[in-house]
Each structure stands twice: as structure tokens, then as C-alpha cells.
Symmetry: C2
Subunit: 409 residues, 2 copies
Amino acid sequence: MALIVQKYGGTSVGSLDRIRNVASRIKRLRDEGNQVVAVVSAMGGVTNKLIAMANELNDEPAEREMDVLLSTGEQQSIALVTMALHELGVEAASVTGRQAGIRTTGSHTRGKIDAIDPTMMQGFLDEGKVIICAGFQGLREDGMIHTLGRGGSDLTAIAVASALKADVCQVLTDVDGVYTCDPRIVKDARKMPEVSYDEMLEMASSGTKVMQSRSVEFAKKYGVIFEVRSSLNDNPGTIVTEEHDNMESVVIRGVSIERSQARLTITGIPDEPGKSAAMLSCLAKAEINIDMIISNIAHDGLARHSVTMHSNDLGKAQAALKPIISKLGNTAGIETEAGIAKLSCVGIGMRSHSGVAAKMFEALGAAGINIGMITTSEIKIAVTVDETDIEDAARIVHAAFDLDKEPTK
Amino acid sequence: MALIVQKYGGTSVGSLDRIRNVASRIKRLRDEGNQVVAVVSAMGGVTNKLIAMANELNDEPAEREMDVLLSTGEQQSIALVTMALHELGVEAASVTGRQAGIRTTGSHTRGKIDAIDPTMMQGFLDEGKVIICAGFQGLREDGMIHTLGRGGSDLTAIAVASALKADVCQVLTDVDGVYTCDPRIVKDARKMPEVSYDEMLEMASSGTKVMQSRSVEFAKKYGVIFEVRSSLNDNPGTIVTEEHDNMESVVIRGVSIERSQARLTITGIPDEPGKSAAMLSCLAKAEINIDMIISNIAHDGLARHSVTMHSNDLGKAQAALKPIISKLGNTAGIETEAGIAKLSCVGIGMRSHSGVAAKMFEALGAAGINIGMITTSEIKIAVTVDETDIEDAARIVHAAFDLDKEPTK
């Protein structure tokens, strides 16, 4: 008998029929003799409808009240899924975030899970019940209802799996698993049977939006092995786990792309300490997420700082930096470039293999694709290319590293 | 500065526009220097929609899960009303039943308020905030979400007023107050400025459905004086309070009617102890609410037991009693009569005035209206009449006691 924690997203419980389907899937696991805890999100569309009502009443609804409002979405789902299980004759009980003992810290709408007191859940498991647990929410020490922000239900599932020492944690989504590249772009992309936490993290931050980084980070921190798989079929998915020796033989695990990127460069900066920091903190204050950061010195001895961001943020960034530019003196200026995209190669095998970057650049060069900025981490090489080239670039790099073929171990 | 507790029902918060209207009303009280706690119900229609979803998934949804599901309705309202107040610049915070410290006992969907720990509410009041409190819900000692059943939000308001020692408790509804009779039937019915708890209780159980009896009982027990008034205008309503000497000068406070009643009589019962109890417990087991109970002995020495109930329950009652009848021997039988209605005269002045029943019966008799069953309490006389006669009967009795005129003190 295994203890299985599953997470079903908003699409999976998006209608009463889908809720019945989720109940049937859970019943099957139960009938096979497993203990099951299913973490569920709000029914698809419910959260957006609540947000729309809030925005109609108030331009900037208070975050505390948003938590009170939005947490009702999951509370409705858990009751409905539990009722559907009862209809199938399965003993089950729902638990809200509070009842699941999920204790949180941090500011409203962006809660962090601090601890889990699984007393009530353990009691229900001991009574032989399936548990349907509300994702995305917890209780703050001061008694306030607290939501966990984007991807919060994944985080709940991983935290619950950790607290209950589950044997299996499955994150059920509308994709089959994690692929070597987006199969809509690269036809022969393969589903990876296994990927390390670090690779998953690099891919999450490089455009492979299967999960939010912080859920993966949480899983890594607490050693929760989880599987990303489809809620629509029974195919095995992708297991996300700690890295092990076999993994290193694969140089590149996958290729991620991120579109709609833009570059902003401040040119002609006197090369003095603190100038770069001023620029970055100015962008941070304007709440602009920057991705790549590159600094170098031009032939005239003046520095250039380049950053990339989502192209939607470019105007805001330019406006935010204007006051700084004028203080930098008359050599300084801003260059911007929209319409670029980012291509990332990720693999922990890079650490022990050389020549990866060269191979990647050669392949792109041979195809006449021009590379803009380059950044690297220990297990990632990322480049920017013209957005019009990004799909070709993905196919070329995918082929260059033979990602369509099963890796040899 | 007064502390005012208000209760707004589902109609009053039934749309975003109405929520804005409630917020404006609260702001006005606040601007006048009052502290305000508003207890709100779920937006009109929300609860029924949730019940429909539950019933589609399960013929008999578990009551525990119904509590989890339905309590989200009020949780949404409190957040939305609070956001609307913020938009008007009023400092406000929402509290769920749990956060309001409402501790309950009893079985799911039928919670009773056991105690209130107003710590969080007191904290918000001390910070100068208006509080928007979820009606209809509380937290059971075992950590379960608990709803209070029909009329639960009224009960919440009265309990909160008691716990916070409020100066004023206003139950805002879609009627202007409590009338001497239903103004749709008796055109010159008057709104009563004041009514005693006991009169209100007798009227609630006699068809004047302004409030559930148990809220009035709770108010009586804890001495909470409250006012029933309209949420649509600023007219003074009806104050429900402990009786005082002035009240006794009014013999009849009001006339209530209840339609769609039915009589069921078991005839030919050997006059032995326990027969009546067997009949009543049999009906109770079938969950049939009976109203009037009359027993007498016929000229043949056999007993007759008559009860009244809602006519919808008549078939169920007959079926439930069948096994008993056959055990009573061959003299026994069942008589039924549907299409009757009940007329009640209520007033604490009856205790010190004689001739009330005579006056009532004479007036009805003079109009040719036949009286069926009669029951009395210390402050009520109730009769059944043909349902076709009930409106005439109400007008006649209302006029006989001069209820259209201001009482002389």
C-alpha cells in the first residue's frame, strides 16, 4: 500500500463532468489499495471571475481581501470532488488549507509555506479516507487566510507529500510530461523519463512553463521526488528527482525557448563602481523582471550594461531609467531592441563535458542564424536570436545534440 | 459613538451594485461617528447555485461537505463588501465565522452558536476599522467548518451584538418592519414600532416570516434588543425587545396567517395512556413538523387526536401512521382535510384582558366564517378556517381589534 499525493489543476476540475472523472481516477488508485491525498485547484474560470468582480468594485483590491475571496475557489472544488467520490462509494473528506495544517508566512497573495501540521489529515488517513485538500492556500500565524500565489497548488502538493512522507507525488497537468523541447515546434521532441531538480529549475526559468520554479525549489530542498504527468491519460510522465550519476552522461537534457523578449542597453557609462547596481535597483523598484544581464567595456573605455526582459516591460523600463541616464553625463544613452527571443540549452552533463557552447554556436552559425547576447550558468547556455529565427534555432540545436534519440547510458 | 451591528441578507448584497449600496450605507453610519459591524449573507442566488452543483454530483451530499461548500458564499460576500468600502475610503476588514470567533456545536448544516471569542473583531474595532462579518457560519471545536442552517445570518448578527455589547442591532431585510398583519392582505395594517420577544416568537411561528424563531429566542436569552428595518430606505423599523408595562395596554399586537395547512385526525382511539405519544413520535420520526395538536373524547368514549401540518406533508404523514392505525384495532381510522389556513392573534396584553377569544370568534361568526380547530397559548389564540376565507378573516379580525389605529397608551 502506497501513499500517493496527486495534484489536479483548474482544468482537470473545470466542470462537473471533469470532477467526476477526477473522482474515478482517484477511486481506481484507492481500489488498487493505495492511500490517496489529492490536492485540487479552483475550477477553471472561477478564480478569474472572482478577480473580475473584485476589480469592478475596487481598482486595487486589498490583498488581504483578495486572499479571503480567492481561497473560496479551492474550498468549493474540494467539497465537490469529495461529494463525487462519495457518490462512487469512496470514503473521503475534504480539508481546507487551514485544516491541512498548512502554516504560512509572508505578505498576502504571496504566501510561503512555513510548516505543515498534518494532524487532521493523518486522522482521516487512519480512518481509511481519501483526502481532498485545497491547493493554493494556508493559514498565517495571525489567523489570516493566505494564498500562495501563482503555482500555489503545485507547492501545496509537494509540501503535503513531504509532510506525510508520501511514496509518490504526481503533478497532473494538461501536458504529458517534460519534453526535450516544445513538441509544437520540434516535431521529434521526446518526453524525458527523468530530469534533475536543477535542470527543471533552469528550464522553468527558460520558458518551459510546466511548473513554477519555487515548487521545484521546495521539492529539491525537502527531497520530494515528483512526477509530472497528464490528467487525461495514464501514460508515465517525467520524474523530477535528485541528480544521479547516470544523468551526467546526457550532455544536454532539453532546449527551452522564450519569446517576446527585449534588450535594453545603457551605453557610454563611466566605468565606476556602483553604476551597474544603480541601474538594476532602479528596474527592480519599477517591478520589472530582468532576465539576462551582460556588462562590458567598449573600445572608448566606457561601459555598456545590457539586460533582457519581456517586451511588454520595455517602455516602463525606459521611463524608469531616464532620470539615471541624465545623471550619467552626456556620453550616456539608451539602446533598445525588441523582437528577440531566448534559446536555452540545459543539462547537468555540461559540467563534465566541454565544447557544448562551441557545438551550439556552430550549428546556429551554419544555419545563418545570428546570435545576440550570451549567458551561461554551470548547466545552461542561453542565447538571444531574432524572434523570427527562434523556431528554426530550436530545431537546429535540438538536432545538433541528437535530442530526438534515446540517450545511451 | 455607538457600536452598531447590522445584518444584510442575500438580497441586499445580491449584485455588485447592491454591494456598493450597502457600502454607502455603512460609510454613512461610520461618518456619523459610529463603530460598525455588518454581518452579511451570501449574494442572492449563490447558495442555490452551489446546492444545485452538489445535487448534480450526489443525491445526498454529505452534510460536512455541504458546510465546506456553502460557507464559501458568505466568504465571498464579506471580501467584496470590504473592497467596496475600501473604494469609498473606509477602513474595513472582513472576518469569516472562524475569525469572528463564532464557536459552534451540533451536527453539520444545523450548527448552534455555543460561544463567541471576539478577540480578532475587537482588535479591528480598536484599529478604527469597520468589520464585515460572514453570517451563517462558525467553527466547531473539532476544527470543522459549520453552517447554522436557515436564518443563520440573523443568529450571527444577534450573537455578535451580544458578544461585542453593541448599542444597536439592526436586522436589515426587504420589509420595513413587523406589521400588524401582512399589508398585501390588510391594506390598513400598521408597522409596529415595538414588539416583545414573546410576541415576535408567536408571530414567527404563526406565519410572519420576518425572522426564524431561534434568532429571536437567542436575542431573548441574551437580552439583545434589535430592530427589524428595511435595507432599501431609512425609515425606522420595529424594535424587538423585552416586554415592559406599556406593552400590556395593547391587547392584540398583530394578526398572522399561515396558508396551505392541513388537518389530520386519528379517530376511534381507545382512550388509554401512551396512544397520543405513539402517534406524535411516529410523525416526528418521519420528520414532519406538526403545528396545532388537539385531543378530545367523542361521544362513543373513543379519543380523537388532531394535528395540523403543511399540506405538502399530508401524504407522508398518512403513510407514516398507517402501521399504527392497524394496531389500534378496528375502531380506528384516519380523517384528513387539506385546504385550510391558520389565523393567529398575538399579544401579551391577553394575559391581563379577558374576552379576547369571544370577540374574535364573534367577529368571524358575524361574517359567516366557520372556525375549525382552536388552540391557545398565554399570548396567542389560533384558529383554522377554510383557506378561501383566510384573507377575509384576517381583515375582519384586524378591524375588530382596531389594529389599524395607533394604540392609546
